[in-house]
């Protein structure tokens, strides 16, 4: 069999992995499964699309594709601004929806736990509302970040990738490394680990827990936006694009071990490659089953995931 599935799977897996980081971060800091994470992917992609169109109309030269890529500076600039805006959207969502559900933690976790069921349900609601907003605000027509056809470059072993895909993989690696350094080497990363383990004690050692929570939302949503841009470069942009990715996102977060950021990234790659292998071996109709099987398998065999710690 051709090794092409590895390359395809890694592209899809990088997208899933970046999206899953937000799920694992939200869970480890706030102790709930955020079902609205998929919408950050969708919103990130749409905001990028709108900004890129606006930038292209204002400065037509920016829409010129940068050889050998299929997109111009307008898309790259739009993606960066969209990451910022998607991060702020998540912070705003937390402020109006999730924060009122939390009570200030006075003991380690007991005071936080009761909020988690309401928070999960609230995230379902937020997901539907965010998707409906997109559907209402954006005219239903075909939207693409890039319409240019690219010739794939043959690489080793008969594997072919387009220049866009090679760039996307490189960006994903850079984001993953930057995130890992931030989490392990900086005081913000230490603070996030501290809040994740014991929020009440974190306050006692002088950590501004609200600030850490805001940054957690921001990072998770900004990476989801990056995932949305990656997705938008390979598929048609549509309001359900993020929601359709939700199951693979959770599969990746579970497989990596909920709470582990490197785990979410590696879990994403594994889910992506497994999906691509399934498509190549069994056919595309089986793709959606892969994430289900991963979730069931992890829960049955190793509930703490590959890199998670037992709770």
């Amino acid at each position: 069999m051709s090794l092409q599935f590895l390359a395809d799977g890694m592209i899809a897996g990088a997208t899933i992995g970046l999206g899953a980081v937000g799920i694992t971060l939200t869970y480890s800091i706030l102790r709930f499964a955020n079902f609205a994470q998929g919408e950050f992917i969708t919103w990130g992609c749409y905001v990028t699309w709108l900004l890129a169109a606006a930038a292209g109309a204002w400065l037509p030269w920016s829409a010129q594709a940068i050889d050998p890529l299929s997109v111009g500076l307008n898309v790259i600039f739009a993606a960066l601004v969209a990451m910022l805006l998607t991060g702020l959207l998540a912070i705003a969502l937390d402020a109006v929806l999730f924060r009122p559900l939390r009570t200030a933690g006075t003991t380690a976790s007991a005071a936080w736990a009761p909020a988690s069921v309401s928070a999960v349900i609230a995230s379902f609601g937020a997901s539907m509302a965010l998707r409906a907003l997109i559907e209402a605000a954006v005219p239903a027509r075909q939207a693409y970040l890039s319409t240019e056809l690219q010739i794939a470059i043959p690489l080793l072993g008969g594997v072919r990738l387009t220049p866009d895909q090679i760039l996307l993989l490189a960006v994903a690696v850079v984001l993953a490394v930057a995130l890992q350094i931030m989490l392990t080497r900086t005081s913000l990363g230490r603070s996030m680990r501290a809040v994740s383990e014991n929020p009440a004690l974190a306050r006692v050692v002088g950590i501004d827990v609200s600030q850490v929570i805001r940054l957690t939302w921001f990072i998770g949503a900004a990476l989801a936006c990056a995932a949305g841009v990656m997705l938008g470069l390979v598929v048609q942009i549509r309001p359900s694009m993020g929601a359709e990715l939700l199951l693979p996102l959770f599969a990746a977060a579970l497989l990596g071990g909920v709470g582990s950021v490197p785990g979410a990234l590696i879990g994403g790659l594994l889910v992506g490659v497994a999906e691509a292998a399934t498509v190549q071996l069994l056919g595309a109709q089986w793709r959606a089953a892969v994430a289900f099987l991963v979730v069931i398998g992890v829960l049955l065999l190793r509930p703490s995931g590959l890199f998670g710690r037992a709770h």
Partner: protein, 251 residues
């Protein structure tokens, strides 16, 4: 008490959890610099709630908490720490998954970059045992060492006021004695210490003064020796056996 305002004090403090039922129902007390003050009382007297309210973990509904000349009643917990009010909770008082060294580094984050290394080195000097285990996950320390790490972590910021919630709970008599000797040493450096304790005898043997709370209100106060000799204390702590000239921990 002299004419000058005390270093740290609470006045008519009412505090409780979110349910709205106050647990501390009007407590007034103070701690001076370099003074070790114990808060005693039977179970449910509000000792723990009082100390958590001073640390900022439980909201004060009325009354006032003053520290070093300012009213900190409305300040969030993390800002009180930055101002020098350090709190050692009774349980889960170290980050179990982080190493001993990371526990101290987290506490030192609020210091300036130049202070950090020196303050952490001083904490290791005070607790040589911890220095030998700095790479170990805090969750793997013994109960006594964990308590030492929690105190070391609180001292890293050079606090003006050190709050301890039942630090002897779960410790062996030997570990308790060692901990209390350490507290006496810390007090001599000018830190004000407020100590909530179940272990009345040990607490009175090291405390300069003590307050007794009953049902969320002040009941008695006095020097450690006076209260240890007070016959009412035995009645308040039925079964705890407070006796005059109790053999305690050498200071």
């Amino acid at each position: 008490m002299n004419d000058a305002a005390p270093f740290a004090a609470v006045y008519d403090l009412v505090a409780g959890y979110d349910s709205g039922v106050p647990i501390v129902k009007g407590v007034t007390m103070h701690v001076n610099r370099g003074e070790l003050v114990a808060v005693l009382g039977p179970n449910g007297a509000g000792k723990s709630t009082l100390i958590k309210a001073i640390a900022g973990l439980v909201p004060a509904t009325s009354g006032c908490i003053r520290y070093d000349g300012t009213d900190i009643s409305a300040q969030p917990a993390h800002l009180r720490v930055r101002n020098g009010v350090a709190f050692v909770p009774q349980t889960e008082n170290v980050f179990a998954t982080l190493s001993v060294s990371d526990n101290l580094k987290i506490a030192a984050q609020i210091l300036t970059a130049t202070e950090r290394a020196a303050h952490i080195a001083r904490a290791y000097e005070l607790f040589p045992d911890l220095s030998r285990q700095r790479g170990l996950a805090a969750g793997r320390l013994s109960g006594g060492q964990r308590q030492m790490l929690a105190v070391a972590r609180a001292l890293v910021i050079s606090p003006g006021l050190l709050l301890l919630d039942e630090p002897s709970a779960g410790l062996s008599p030997k570990a308790t004695a060692e901990l209390f000797r350490t507290l006496v040493r810390i007090r001599k450096t000018g830190v004000g210490i407020l100590l909530v304790e179940q272990n009345v005898r040990a607490a009175l043997s090291v405390a300069d003064r003590a307050y007794v709370l009953v049902e969320g209100r002040n009941r008695r106060e006095g020097s450690g020796g006076d209260l240890a000799a007070d016959p009412e204390m035995g009645a308040l702590f039925l079964g705890l056996g407070v006796r005059a000239a109790a053999p305690g921990v050498p200071a």
